[in-house]
């Protein structure tokens, strides 16, 4: 690693092609100075680099993180082993960005599993009374095939729903709490200044319009989607609490316009998730394996914004 730093410090148009194969672009782009400045652009300089890396990197991070120590300072201590592996295998180096902390990734996946269980068991619960309003006369607003539901029968579906509502709520709270505490909510919170950018981005995705210049980690349409879906989560939990306990939460039920409307809002939140999930999956598929893996391992190779 440190040898790599020296290479880059020398300014490496020559050395990069020999070492890098698929990662050439980034090796070329990353003189130490460039990386340092883009580090500063992405995040305000942390008083200590370790503070932003958290516990995730602590053992490996010392001296390796650009921005905390320059390669030159570390140069006297390259180990034979490291320079050998880099050279012998002919592998180059590349930049990777730590995009998602372990807390976020853990909550994301646990919440995703809980969400699928909540939606499919919720459909089974809905089948028991597939309508809104009075029971008599009977209306069946929507026929949901049993095959795509979970639980088998109303009681079974309720068991799944009662169990995973806690998982869903807890992971949602930890996720949002972490984003707020870490300040990371700023990169994904949709704000009024993002409004003008929504349509150009939608036009690009839906009608193959020109691709707007990406200036932040998330584009305005992503911010809108992620912010909306967190609100959908909050709506589903609050309306769910009213449907489950309309007497104990009678005040909240009144705010929502009563038990009937709480069921309607709960259904609307479900529709929000059902609209979000395919869009989210398509976008993940379009952006490839490396992008997907950043939600698994936290690190994204050769991020497009560096």
């Amino acid at each position: 690693m440190i040898a790599d730093g020296q290479d880059r410090a020398k300014g490496t148009p020559e050395s990069a092609p020999s070492g890098a194969q698929s990662e050439t672009r980034d090796t070329e782009a990353s003189s130490a100075g460039d990386v340092l400045s883009s580090e500063l652009a992405v995040r305000p300089p942390a008083p200590a680099g370790q503070a932003t890396s958290g516990d995730d990197l602590a053992p490996v991070a010392d001296g390796l993180m650009l921005g905390t120590a320059t390669p030159e300072v570390e140069a006297p201590a390259p180990t034979v082993h490291e320079s050998e592996t880099a050279g012998a295998k002919g592998q180059g180096t590349f930049v990777a960005a730590y995009e998602h902390s372990a807390v976020v990734r853990f909550c994301h996946w646990l919440n995703a599993i809980a969400l699928v269980i909540m939606i499919t068991s919720g459909w089974r619960i809905f089948i028991a009374f597939p309508s809104f309003g009075p029971r008599i006369p009977e209306h069946q607003l929507l026929k949901i095939p049993d095959a795509i539901t979970l639980g088998g029968w109303l009681g079974g579906a309720l068991q799944w729903h009662y169990t995973f509502m806690w998982v869903f709520t807890a992971t949602g709270l930890v996720y949002v709490g972490y984003l707020i505490a870490s300040g990371d909510y700023r990169i994904m919170l949709f704000r009024p200044r993002d409004i003008p950018g929504v349509w150009p981005m939608a036009r690009h995705y839906l009608f193959f319009g020109p691709e707007p210049k990406q200036t932040e980690a998330y584009n305005p349409l992503q911010k809108l989607a992620y912010t909306t879906i967190v609100l959908c989560g909050a709506l589903s939990v609050l309306t769910g609490a009213v449907i489950l306990r309309p007497v104990q939460f009678s005040g909240l039920a009144w705010v929502m316009g009563g038990f009937h409307l709480a069921r309607v809002w709960h259904f609307v939140a479900m529709c929000g998730f059902v609209a979000f999930i395919p869009g989210h999956l398509v976008m993940v598929a379009l952006h490839g394996w490396n992008n997907f893996m950043s939600m698994v391992r936290g690190w994204k190779k050769n991020p497009e914004y560096l």
Partner: protein, 238 residues
């Protein structure tokens, strides 16, 4: 935050990060049938426990004006009740268990207790609900009439249609929990549980058992609830 990697180092860091997600594998237990039954049962039990922490005896269920009532002929009821049971003409409620005055209590005995009439919401586990008028004696008044030990945990009833139900003492003492003998100002109809039923506005619909024949105050339940024993919540607070 970003940094330089070579492939080997990246694989090492990535592996460590992925290992942090391994607790998710524990969810696989939900795919194993015996574990699934146990875990879902625990999930329901935890939900019931949380609800019991939320329950406040002094917190009343909302009541509604007469104009909000669902007409009696549009009061749906469970398919379980399509066969209306035969009721003994000399019907009396048989009281037993942790009470000072066990024995048979006639409808007149119950009618002599203060009559409470209330328009409350009846919520079915299926998701529908309606506002109905129920009138009868407070269950708490009846429990004091029979000298019940109110430190016992449950009030358990059996019904003429082989239905059975139990109620935690806290909910039994709730001022809106009724031994109901009238709906909409008229004696109970056969379909609604004549001659006596529970009307429990703080509980889900199936807790409001109909066609009561016996009532027992107890700490131990051999059966908890007709629907609860089939997988629904027994506590079933709303």
């Amino acid at each position: 935050m970003h940094r330089q990697f070579d492939d080997k180092e990246f694989r090492r860091v990535a592996r460590r990060q992925i290992l942090k997600l391994t607790p998710l594998v524990a969810l696989g237990a939900f795919a194993v049938p015996p574990a699934q039954d146990y875990l879902l049962d625990r999930g329901v039990a935890f939900t019931d426990w949380a609800a019991s922490k939320l329950f406040r005896t002094g917190h009343l269920a909302p009541t509604y004006p007469d104009s909000a009532l669902t007409p009696l002929n549009r009061f749906a009821y469970n398919s379980y009740d399509t066969n209306k049971p035969e009721i003994d003409p000399d019907w009396a409620l048989e009281v037993s268990g942790l009470v000072r005055k066990p024995g048979n209590y006639s409808l007149d005995d119950i009618r002599r207790l203060p009559r409470i009439s209330q328009n409350t919401r009846h919520v079915c586990i299926e998701g529908w609900d309606l506002v109905a008028n129920f009138a009868g004696a407070r269950l708490s008044d009846f429990l004091s009439l029979i000298g019940a030990d109110t430190s016992a945990r449950f009030v358990y009833v059996e019904c003429a249609d082989d239905y059975y139900e139990s109620l935690d003492m806290e909910a039994a003492m709730h001022p809106q929990s009724l031994l109901c003998y009238e709906m909409y100002g008229k004696p109970l109809e056969a379909g609604h549980g004549a001659p006596l039923r529970w009307a429990l506005p703080t509980k889900i619909g199936y807790k409001s058992a109909k066609y009561l024949t016996s009532l027992k105050v107890t700490n131990v339940l051999t059966q908890r609830s007709y629907w609860g024993d089939q997988g629904y919540s027994t506590y079933a607070d709303i």
